[in-house]
Symmetry: C2
Subunit: 146 residues, 2 copies
DNA sequence: GGCAACCGTTCTGACCGTGAACGGTCCCGT
DNA sequence: ACGGGACCGTTCACGGTCAGAACGGTTGCC
């Protein structure tokens, strides 16, 4: 008569809590590289989409343009991105990924895969690949990066 | 020679971003009920684990005890939980779920399932169940609620 | 040549959560 | 009986993250 359905049995709900745990651990790992999650987001975006203006980056990331300033500042300080005024339109700041940025991103990827292994340790191989496949599908369906 | 592996191909990474989207949408929906995500967490905990002290709740949720105060305040104001001093140990505040709380939680469950349907619309049925099954497994493995 | 639209930057403010400090309560040794 | 230490809940001050408004420099259009 009571409890129509135990709430945590919702896929979205589990996705949310698990996602929070995953990002927390990921954040901890990349902190050693001087990076924060949004930084990785921007770097990834730049590698995938070539040079971008900050506004384009903001739209793609779904954040306010003012936030991109902060992120780009930090990344520029790390030598991971270069900022240069578009000669054709001097209002725009072209963000380009440097080789150092590439290298940094690769180390992030390494950390991410370590985390994957640790995080999905209790799954067997077919489950892991099925999960990854499905998540990729969902990500694409919701217009997320890559 | 470049890009060892495109980073967003990490399961953890996708889990993180998708989780963020899911919680954002969930948050928007339950806002109409006057609830925030942590509130739902506490309500769920109370239904599953019976009456709890605030400290126990804090540990189970993985948050600071001071935060539980805020959440319990809001829920008490909504009439969703009752706070009463444990007669056996008057330091403890026993949190119990009221019938209104039950009802509220049921409405949350409804919202969550609507969201599930919407969020996983592009998956076919076997994929959906497989995903849910796997996420449940992961949640359990990481000591998350229920 | 002037005006509106646009991009990036700065700054202010809201929100969320932790950690420290405090009062009330309990337990234990003496 | 009683005093000190541990414990629970509450309050408060603080840090971190992000959005939104305001501003300067730049462009394109009329």
């Amino acid at each position: 008569m009571n409890s129509v359905s135990p709430l945590p049995s919702s896929t979205s709900f589990r996705l949310g809590t698990l996602g929070a745990v995953a990002t927390a651990r990921f954040t901890a790992r990349i902190a050693a590289l001087g990076l924060k999650p949004k930084d990785v987001g921007l770097l990834t975006l730049l590698r995938a989409g070539g040079p971008l203006s900050q506004l384009e980056a903001a739209k793609a990331m779904g954040v306010a343009p003012s936030l991109v300033v902060t992120v780009a500042d930090r990344l520029e300080l790390l030598g991971a991105v270069r900022r240069l005024r578009d000669p054709g339109d001097r209002r725009r700041q072209q963000l380009t990924l440097t080789q150092q940025g590439q290298a940094l991103l690769d180390r992030c990827a390494g950390a991410a895969h370590e985390l994957d292994a640790e995080f999905t340790a209790e799954l067997d191989e077919p489950e892991r690949t099925a999960l990854d496949r499905t998540l990729a599908k969902l990500a694409a369906a919701h217009g997320l990066p890559a």
